[in-house]
Subunit: 454 residues, 2 copies
């Protein structure tokens, strides 16, 4: 009986197991994870903390019983400490029993994910200092939030922003401290500035945002009571969140001779195969190809993890499936304010050798006489010479996120802005203005490109 072993079971691992089961009803499928749970929506944790729902079970995509019913065996609190490719074995440490044992595999999937990248901060081990990665983190944070008045969030990326919303909604005063000159540095600076203004306008009394500074020390005894920054600022806090990004869990892969890419994540081909036969990798521990620039990138996201897990399973079961890469499409929100992105930013494009031209347009998301019309801002980026679309960012209180998806399609099959302008997209007063802001942006881009060449 073929033995399929999967390390990790959140998104990529769980998906790979389920897909492999459908393709090979007879295989012996085992998931080993040091986590306390499998197959849950990690992306949903901020919304659980926020109080959108209070039953943590709602985060489970599938529960253990469902896996067992499909004859997929889940081994929780079982840390894989070594991979032995020559013997086709892994070494597992049972964290509860403190016992080590070997497990044979015919095909192995590494889906070890990522973990918080913790910067060097003094007293980081005080109580009520959290990162948000696992379900347990989420439960612990929520418990503390309900008893707190003041929080400090270190880091102004996706997790930081989502927790900011959650904490404000739960009535806390929050100080966000971001090392970079702008929060949400994944966006271009001009867009980041609009995001920051919106947050401070909406919640000027509860939210403080500090840029270009970093936390160097946590204050307090046993329990955290505040933070101190490099620039000498001090802020009180009942809890502190470290949301300064994540890094791929690749240590056991490296030790086994598995090659990393230039981003520091595991290098795989488009079949999710590593450099070692019969070892696949998928999800947040894996390097991806950015489809616009065809360069290596590392953006850990749940939607990508699912697709990669599926692709790995198909190939290791003898089928053929390719996962070519990502655009870097992503979306989050701060209350009703959406922030969405696809493709390259202007600054990334310039760094990668393109000659980017950008336009930015702010328009109502629907016709002005409709009661719920709200502004959105779209930034569109094209290459000067080829006129090809490179990326888009759409933010605002209006209906923004699906508009970058409309651009995304034009990025996977590369398209000029001229082609895109001929796009015939839906119009009705409750849904968009008669000329959609997207097409207004495309039109402005064409005029800008034409001016530059004439």
């Amino acid at each position: 009986m073929e033995k399929i072993v999967i390390i990790g079971g959140v998104a990529a691992g769980a998906k790979a197991a389920a897909k492999a089961r459908r393709l090979k009803p007879e295989a012996d499928i085992n998931i080993y994870t040091e986590d306390t749970h499998v197959s849950y929506s990690a992306c949903g944790l901020p919304f659980f903390i926020e109080g959108n729902f209070n039953d943590v079970d709602m985060l489970f995509v599938r529960d253990i019983e469902e896996f067992e019913k499909e004859n997929i065996h889940i081994h929780l609190l079982n840390r894989v400490t070594r991979i032995l490719p020559d013997k086709k074995q892994i070494l597992v440490l049972d964290l509860e029993k403190s016992e080590e044992f070997f497990v044979d595999y015919d095909k192995l999937v590494i889906a070890t994910g990522a973990r918080p990248a913790i910067p060097p901060i003094k007293n980081i081990n005080l109580r009520n200092v959290f990162s948000l990665r696992t379900l347990e983190d989420g439960i612990n944070i929520k418990e503390k939030v309900l008893k707190s008045k003041k929080a400090v969030i270190v880091g102004g990326g996706y997790i930081g922003i989502e927790l900011l919303e959650a904490f404000v909604k739960q009535g806390l005063h929050v100080t966000m401290i971001e090392f970079a000159p702008h929060i949400m540095p994944i966006f271009d600076d001009d867009i980041s500035e609009i995001i920051k203004s919106h947050i401070l306008e909406r919640d000027s009394e509860n939210v403080e945002i500090i840029n270009s500074d970093s936390v160097v020390e946590l204050l307090g005894y046993e329990e955290v009571s505040g933070v101190k920054t490099k620039n000498g600022l001090k802020f009180d806090a009942d809890l502190v969140i470290i949301a300064t990004g994540v890094k791929p869990n690749v240590e056991i892969a490296v030790a086994a001779g598995i090659q990393l890419g230039e981003t520091g994540a595991i290098k795989v081909n488009n079949k999710m195969q590593t450099n070692i036969e019969d070892i696949y990798a998928a999800g947040d521990c894996v390097e991806k190809v950015q489809l616009v620039s065809k360069t290596p990138t590392w953006i850990p996201l749940g939607s990508t993890a699912n697709k990669e897990g599926r692709c790995a399973a198909i190939n290791l079961c003898g089928g053929e499936d390719c996962f070519e890469g990502i655009l870097g499409s992503a979306v989050t929100r701060y209350f009703a304010f959406t922030m969405s992105i696809t493709g390259l930013t202007e600054k990334q494009a310039a760094k990668l050798g393109f000659d980017p031209v950008s336009v930015m347009v702010t328009k109502l998301d629907k016709v002005g006489y409709m009661p719920k019309a709200k502004n959105i801002t779209i930034k569109l980026i094209s290459d000067r010479k080829t006129r090809k679309l490179l990326g888009a960012q759409a933010i605002g209180a209006g209906d923004a996120d699906k508009r970058v998806n409309t651009v995304a399609t034009g990025l996977i099959c590369p398209m000029t802005v001229d082609d895109f302008f001929s796009n015939d997209i839906t119009y009705a007063p409750p849904y968009s203005p008669s000329i959609d802001p997207l097409l207004t942006a495309a039109q402005m881009m064409i005029e800008k490109l034409n001016k530059a060449t004439s």
Copy 2:
């Protein structure tokens, strides 16, 4: 001074005038229209009737003063009765003064739009029988609706559905009578059936839908009091709406020797030029190219009219601009239930010689634990042999409309469903499930196509 004359001033005509003014600050620009208003959002009329807003002025895109300020002269209640291409003149009838006069032009734009296609119905001239096309129609209907209890809507297309919502919202009991076996016949039958079920489920007490029947006679004396159908049914009504489609206003064009296309609308090239020199046409009176099939089609829509008006203006001012055609993207709603479409339906595709394969998927529009998650149904259509995307329909109480726009981009630059499946679109719990219903549909399509060929 160059004389630019435009016949009609709602969407295409008003846009052409405004664009021409920007390109030629010195030209003499005149709009002649038999209408009482120009430059208004005709698509907004149902929402005005519904009571989303009560100030009819909100429907104006630009008012007469704005046009006059830009030195664009608007001649309301001035019907153009003849075009004399040899003399480069038009003959105008001033409806108020009952005077006729000639006007010279150097460049002429025909933007005469469309008018309701009224089927042969006995006593059609009774009071309180309306079509909805002009601003005046909208004002008259709203006035009557506020005093009515029962309405009959003849026709179950876009206008019919939007007025159905408006009337129900204003507290009326409504009977909709549609000649075809399904309402919203622009969609595939399976989708139309879901739409009908939703409406009847939501408003079983106020709404009645009769299919495969038609109104043959209006009852009443002076004022309408009811309708009689071909199948012998009778329904009471304080007002009756005839929404059985529209036809292009092409009579004066035909009389001037301007060529029509096979759809009966004016034939133009991709510069919006008719077969007669210096005469352009744009908007609802013009035939379009369906971009997936490259065949002539006639779908009158405000968004297209705007683009065509702009294109005509650029070309007649000596610039170069092309309008290649449309996908047939459209959206409407019945209360919170969205109906959106792009490209070819399955039945159209079959008629046009494709070998269409379709899949239909019903999924939540966002992750299930988010409080506002709602179902949407996506139908995707591909060609069996080439695997190219042909069209999509998305309906439901959830966030549906922008999802067809994401497909639309893949139709203007033709793309296979395999390419589309590799699309990296945004994911976060408040916005979509980790595998978007669009990608689920694409995956099902790929499996279906593969099964068919293996």
